[in-house]
Each structure stands twice: as structure tokens, then as C-alpha cells.
């Protein structure tokens, strides 16, 4: 709240006479002036005088008049009390320990699984009538005479409950405790190339009998592989959504910077530019809206209520983002009036500072204007080199504006202003020369 208040009440006494920035206090103003305009020594003295006058005036002011000012200050202190910087709390990570324990365990497990797969591969190549014998050559079967109970369910083996061997590890279990792996699935596991499940024919006589442990290991490996490399539609849409949000953030930051600058009366940015940036933000907001609608519209299976919840949550979050972060951006239209009023009052009070520094365009973002063939575009151009320069810069500004590079526009504008000034001076000088 304090912020919005401070934004509307510009305190005239603390405006910087060079850039019209509102600095709100005497010390700020002097510091600002020394930082940014230290070259203009005479201006510095004048500002000190000005501040001195203001100080005298303030000292004369009755205590009562300062009351709102004081309460504002105390309110800020109140906020400060709650926002004082605080060391981040202690924390401790167990990730390293966790991963070590897991690695030890998984190394063992992975090598086991790999061994099973190699055996499986060999088992698949066994053909012919002596299959059982060949299988036993490959994997040593446990001696049945020493095992009287099934190790899984602890039931005693007898005539009806017979011993069976796992083809992969050779251990013994009863029939209900074993499971079967069809040849086709086995092939799929071994080759790892994804084949369509529907084409698999199941010939039960070909199945391999496995114990529960081996089945479990093969299955969890299979599951991990199946999940790799598939990205559902919702993820693709969501990624697009996030990318746009990310881009928008920089536009919003830039817009806020432009707005603040315009509001404080600086002419670094153009009002039209702010407007067009704002409308491009609005367009992006619409795109966000459309994508989030698409996310909601993705068909879900009825057994997945959570997916529906997720879709709705994304939609809600996006609309809220648009409402609270994009739509609330201040409109530049009322700025226009404000600015006009300000310019009028200040242009009378202060002379334009006579030395302007040409700011080189710092193209940090990788954008640079194309070189346009000047002869072609402007055939009637004068041969004055200054005039040429001016035209080139004008062209650059045009391009920069098309590319939404408003910061470049600002620095180019400054260049242009300088060039124009120089041109004018030269014209005046030459007029003098000719008249004399």
C-alpha cells in the first residue's frame, strides 16, 4: 500500500533537474546527482541551493504538517521490522548417504538381472527334444531330495504337490508359486526392441517356468523400459505453456521498467512502444489461455480422477496468472496526460543540459539491425555525412521497433537526438559564416 501511495504523490522538491526522476529525499537526490550527473558541476551547486531552500522551508513547517509524513515513515519501519533479512534456516542433506545405500543394493540387483537376461537369451535358443537336459546344462537345477517344503509357501511336497524348477535360477517351488513367461515376451525382453504386444501369439507349451524372484526382477526392468521415451500430450502442452510464461516474464519486466521510466518523466522510452509491448503481452496471454483450455480438454480415462484434477488445476493457475500478473499491468494511456503536464512545467524551469553523451548501443541480447542499402532506400538523400548518419539511425530505430527491442530503441533515440543537435549547430554556424 505504501508503494502505491508513494507512486502517486510525486514530491516536486526532490525531482532531479536533469532526468526528472523523483528521488524522494534530499540525501538520495544528492547521491543520485553525484552518481549520474557529476559532470555538470554548476548544476550541482544549483541543486544544492534548491535543496537548501527546501530545507529551510521544511524546517519552518509546523510539526502538524509533517504528521502524515511521519506516519508514512513509521509505517515503513513497521514493514521493515517484519522483513528484516534473515539467515536461511539450517538444513541437512541425506542424499549422498541415501544414494550410497541404494547403489550398493542396486548394483547387486542389476548384475543379477543381467545374468538372468543372458540366461534367458540362451534358453531361447534351445530347440529339440532334449530341451530339459539342455536347460539343466545351462542352469544347474537344485537337488530335489534335500528340499521337502516349498520355500515360498512352506507347503510340504508330495504326490499331488510336486517340485518344479525355475528355469532361470534352478531353485525349487511348487506349482502355485511359479509363474510362466511366454517365449514371445521373453524375446521381447532380450531384444529390448519395442514390439507391439497385440501381435504376440501365446503358445502355452513354449512357456518358461520361473520362480517369483526372477519374475519380479524381469518385470521391474521391463516396466522401467516401457516408461522411457513416452511423453504424453499433457506434458508437451505444459512445456509450451511454461516456455511462453518464461518469455512473458522478461516482457513484463521490461514493460514495468518502461512504465516507471515514463511515469517519472524520463524520455528514454516511447509511449507507443510501451503500448505495443503491452498489446503483445496481451496477445501472449491469449495464447496461454488457449493452451490451458487445450489441457483441460484432453480426454481422460474415467479411472484417473487425478488427471482431471491436474488439468483443472493447471487451467486455474493459468487464469489466475493472467488475471493477477498480466491484466493488472498499468495502462499507458493515463501516462500520456500525466507526462504532458509534467513536461510543460519542467521545460520552463530547467534548461536542457547542453552536453549529451552518445550512448553506444550495447547489443547484449544478440540483436543487431540489418545493414540496409541506403542508396536504394533513400535515393534523394543529401550528401551531407551527418544527414546520412541521421537517416541510418532512423532506419535502425524502425527495425528495432519492429523487433520489439525497446531498450535498443531508447539508446538509438539518444544517438539520433545528439546527431540532430550537431546538425543544427552546424547549420547555424554555416549560416553565420555565409551571412558574415
Amino acid at each position: 500500500m505504501a508503494e502505491s501511495q508513494s507512486d502517486t504523490h510525486i514530491q516536486e522538491g526532490f525531482l532531479c533537474p536533469v532526468c526528472y526522476k523523483d528521488l524522494r529525499s534530499r540525501s538520495n537526490l544528492i547521491a543520485h546527482f553525484e552518481d549520474f550527473h557529476s559532470e555538470d558541476q554548476d548544476l550541482l551547486t544549483s541543486i544544492k541551493e534548491l535543496v537548501g531552500k527546501a530545507k529551510k522551508k521544511i524546517l519552518k513547517i509546523d510539526e502538524n504538517d509533517l504528521e502524515p509524513f511521519k506516519t508514512e515513515i513509521s509505517f515503513q519501519q513497521f514493514n521493515l521490522e517484519y522483513n528484516e533479512p534473515q539467515e536461511p534456516g539450517q538444513n541437512r542433506s541425506h542424499t549422498e548417504f541415501f544414494k550410497n545405500v541404494r547403489r550398493e543394493r542396486l548394483d547387486h540387483r542389476t548384475s543379477e538381472t543381467n545374468r538372468l537376461i543372458i540366461r534367458l537369451d540362451k534358453l531361447l535358443h534351445i530347440h529339440g527334444s532334449d530341451r530339459k537336459q539342455q536347460e539343466q546344462e545351462l542352469v544347474t537345477w537344485l537337488d530335489g531330495t534335500t528340499v521337502s517344503r516349498c520355500p515360498c509357501c512352506a507347503a510340504t511336497f508330495n504326490i499331488t504337490r510336486r517340485q518344479h524348477h525355475c528355469r532361470l535360477c534352478g531353485s525349487i517351488m511348487c506349482n502355485p508359486c511359479s509363474s510362466f513367461l511366454s517365449h514371445d515376451v521373453a524375446k521381447m525382453i532380450v531384444t529390448t526392441v519395442y514390439t507391439d504386444m497385440n501381435n504376440l501369439s501365446s503358445k502355452t507349451d513354449d512357456n518358461l517356468r520361473l520362480c517369483a524372484h526372477c519374475t519380479n526382477k524381469l518385470e521391474s526392468r521391463n516396466q522401467v523400459q516401457m516408461l522411457q521415451g513416452t511423453q504424453p500430450l499433457i506434458c508437451q502442452l505444459y512445456n509450451r505453456l511454461q516456455k511462453i510464461k518464461c518469455d512473458l516474464q522478461s516482457s513484463v519486466n521490461l514493460y514495468e521498467k518502461m512504465f516507471d521510466s515514463l511515469k517519472s518523466g524520463e524520455d528514454t522510452f516511447h509511449l507507443q512502444d510501451a503500448q505495443s509491448l503491452r498489446s503483445s503481452i496481451a496477445q501472449q496471454a491469449e495464447v496461454l489461455d488457449v493452451i490451458s483450455k487445450q489441457i483441460v480438454a484432453i480426454a481422460t480415462e474415467s479411472d484417473q480422477p487425478k488427471v482431471l484434477l491436474l488439468q483443472n488445476a493447471i487451467r486455474r493457475a493459468t487464469t489466475q496468472y493472467i488475471k493477477e500478473y498480466l491484466l493488472v499491468l498499468p495502462s499507458p494511456t493515463d501516462l500520456d496526460k500525466m507526462r504532458k503536464g509534467r513536461v510543460k512545467t519542467h521545460s520552463q524551469n530547467f534548461e536542457q543540459p547542453n552536453s549529451l553523451h552518445v550512448v553506444k548501443i550495447a547489443v547484449t541480447t544478440g540483436w543487431s539491425p540489418e545493414n540496409v542499402n541506403i542508396e536504394q532506400t533513400l535515393p534523394e538523400m543529401s550528401d551531407d555525412p551527418l544527414m546520412q548518419q541521421i537517416n541510418i539511425v532512423r532506419n535502425y530505430i524502425h527495425q528495432a521497433r519492429l523487433a520489439n527491442r525497446y531498450e535498443e530503441v531508447a539508446s538509438l533515440e539518444e544517438n539520433l537526438k545528439f546527431l540532430k543537435n550537431t546538425y543544427q549547430m552546424k547549420r547555424v554556424n554555416s549560416d553565420f559564416a555565409s551571412s558574415s
Partner: protein, 560 residues
Amino acid sequence: MNVITAVKAYITKMIEESEPGMKILLMDKETTSIISMVYGQSEIQQKEVFLLERIDSGNNNSNSGLRYLKCLVFLRPTPQNIDLLSKELRNPRYGAYYIYFSNIVAKADVKILAENDEQEVVKDVQELYMDYLAVNPHLFSFGLSTCMANWKTFTLQRSVQGLASVLLSLTKCPIIRYQKFSNLCHELAQKVDELINKESTLFTFGQSSQPLLLILDRRCDPVTPLLNQWTYQAMVHELLTINNNRVNLSKVKGISKELAEVVLSAEQDPFYAKNIYLNFGDIGQNIKELMEHFQEKAKSHQKVESISDMKAFVETYPQFKKLSGNVSKHVTVVGELSSMLSEYELLDVSEIEQEITSQTDHSSHLQSIRKLLNPGGNRKIRDLDAAKLVMLYALRYRSHSSNDIGGLIKMLKKRNVSEYLISSIDSVLKYAGRYAQPSEIFNVVEAVKITKRLFKGLNGVDNVYTQHKPVLNEILDEIVKGRLREDLYPRLGGFTSQQINSRSQDVIVFFIGGVTYEESLTVHVFNKNNPEMRVILGGTTIHNSKSFLEEANETIRANV
């Protein structure tokens, strides 16, 4: 020292350290409250956390996994949670797990989890110490409604863990002092000290001064929780009950569905933040201003004539909507409070309460209570308030030669006051027992103080309804002067000569048996008046008079 900032920083860390992507937050019952105290659902959605889930909800075994979701796990390190999480990791429903424990977790438990993570879905395991409810910047609670009765079985252990996490989140390694009369305080102090020594690497901070942890027993001040309150937060809690920042209004007549439960959070509600410590009169004024502001806005919305009006309307509408929700919430709450005030004649009740607590005039106090209790007087005061008045009288004058506690109880019986409330009088007296002597709990006796009070009264500072000062006020005063008595508040292991004189700037005061919002206000005012001091207040729970009576009854029943 700000517990809300601390918790928020942890949550931000939690969310930012997991990589970007759609996230689900898996919590238990307690951690859900911990997070909901500082973040609303819509706020957390802006941070990519779209789904919230309870690990103990029971319907997690449906194997419809969403492997493209990242799962943030935030749990207390309890055996049940380790067990549930192990099951979850064995059959992971989500693609990646970032596990955060709210407190110190045993190595053995981490090992169990690691052994269950066969699909290598866990990316991070950390301890982030937010094992408490951050209520206000200077106020925390553990949400343990009956503390003393379950001391041995549960609450001692929980308090040790909670206090450790408070200290760790604020990076403080304190000296510990406790109230001598209370065994509970001594026990808790010892356990916390043991934990600090055991985890000495965690408790190593570059501290500029030595903070103080002062452990108090609710029985040193049974008066404060019995009083009617007049500041916004305290009043809402006393009359409507605040539970984890939520107020249940469903019993209010003609309440609309969306206002059946409202959230009062100073973090998300600027009006509440502004008025939380103001007294009822000021709130009335402020709510009038809020209404006017709202009506002005509403009026400007009504004249949508041109296209530009329309555009302005659309642009400001979200804020308007938010404002209107806020206005109707506070108008409802304040309206309900004020109707309760007049219906139960709380102004009259409170005036007598305050007089009993801060003035000495036995006969006139007895007179006023009799007048209020008189059944022929057609007064509408609640049985609860009537019984509380008798309790205050009994606490104040139990050793007075001509007291008439018996006579007042008879009057209550004539009013058909419930057996529960009448037996509560006895419970509260026993609860206060030999610990809280009238001379200590009522700030009236010393001659010096009386003159001070008179002086204050002449200045017109004191309000009739806010004369009472909790015992805590006195204790804080002694701390700031460096005069907290060693014999009443000893330090574990005794003092070295140097420590006696050292004054702590950072103080954490903890009440076994619950704290009150009046004490929270006391601390708030104290912090404001002593900018060099930073005091944080905590309790096993935050009491209003109803919950306090329950606790007192339970404690007497369990014979602690």
C-alpha cells in the same frame, strides 16, 4: 527472528530445488497444516505445485500412476510415515521423488527408504526444519490441544522435536532457562539440551550473542486464558475459535456457502494484517472505511458506458473481485462478533473481569458478580462467562478470609449452569494449585505498582477493557533489565558468573500447556517498544477459554 519468513524460505527452497515441471505435494496430516499456515493453494499453484495429496489418505494404492509428475514429499519423520513412504517407493506412482523431512530423521530410516527405492526414483533427501505451525511472525504453536495429560506418552517428545526445529530454522543455539516450580519445564529443558548436545554439528552457528530459550508452565498464569479479549485476532479466537488460521462460521444464521469457513491469514489478507492487534473500536472504524472504499469501487463499476469504461472494468475486475471477497469476509466476522457482544452482554462481563484482575476491592467485586448472576435480573450472559467470572473470583480471593465462593457456586447452580462448568471451577483452582499464588498472577498487590497504575490511569492510557497484563509482561520486563531471578528461573547446569550478567537479545519463550493471543499481543508490543530485543513466543497450542478449561479438566483428571 521471524518464524513465518523461516517457514516460507524453506518451502521456497523445497520447491525450487526440485527441477521445473508439474508437481504434486505429498504430505501427512501435520505437515499439511504447517504449509497451509503460510501458503494458500492458489499461491502454491503458481509455483507449479498443482496437486496436493495426503500420504495417509488410504486411497493411494490405486496403481494409476502419473509418471510425468514430480513428487515433492514433505513429511514428519515418524515410523508410520517411513513405512508408508517405503510402500510408495516400492511401487512408485510418480516419476521422481524429492523427499523432505520436517525434522531430524534417523539414519536407519533413510537406509530403509533407500533399500526400497529399487526403481531409482528418489532424487533428493533432506531435512528442512519446519516442524511447527507459524501463526504470526513472532508466534508458533505445535497444535497439541491437551498437553499435560499426555505428557509422558506423546507431548514431551513432540515438544522437544518442535523446539529443536524452531531453533534450527532460526539458527539459534540458546542457553536454556526454565520455571523452577514445574517438573515439566525441567524435563523439557533437559531433553532439548540433550538433543542439542547430541546434534552439536547441526547446532553450530556463528552467533553474535547468546540467545535465550525460556520454558514456562501455563500454571504460572491461569488467569489470562480465562479473560474475554478485545483485539481482533484474540477476540475472533475467543468467540469464534481460530483453527490453523481458519474460522468456522457455518453456525452463523443465514451464512452463504462460501463464507461457511473463512481463512484469516495476515500473509494473504492486508486488511487482517493491519487490524490483527487493533481493538474492536478501531476495527469498526476501519471496516467502515473498507466498505466505503469498496462502494466507491463498486460505483465506478456500475457506470460502464463507453468502451474505455468497459476496458477499465475488465482490467480492474480481478482486484475488485478479490476486494469484494475480503470485504464480505470481514464484515461477516465483525458483524458476528458485534452481535455476540450485545447478545451476551460481554462489555459488562469484561469490565468486571478486568476489575477483578487488576484492582483490589473484594466487596465491590463480589457485589458486581452477584448482580450479574442474579437469575431475577433477566440478564442474558452466557453460562460460560458466568462460570469464568466465579473462577476468576476464586483464583483471586481463594485465601481471602471472607470470600464467598460457595455462595457464588450456589447461584450458578440456580441458573442451571452445567455440571461440567461448575466442576471446572474446582479444576482450575486445582490446576493453578500451589503454583500460581494470587500475589503473582494478579498484577495488583505491590504498592509501587498501584501508584504506577494510578499514574497511568490519570494519563488516560489504560482502557477499562484492557487493564489486565499477563504474567509474561512482567517476565519480559525482567529479561530486558537483565534481572530475571535465578532462583525462580534457573539455568540447566547452573550459571557461570559471566552468564548471569549477559543479556540475551534474542529470546524464545515457550509455554507448556498452551499460550494465548493476549500474550502474543504482549510480545508484539514489547518487540515494538524494545527495538533492540527480538522475542518469539510459542506454546504447545493456542488457547481460548473453552479449550483452556478442557485442558485444565484433563490435567486434573490425569493427575499430573
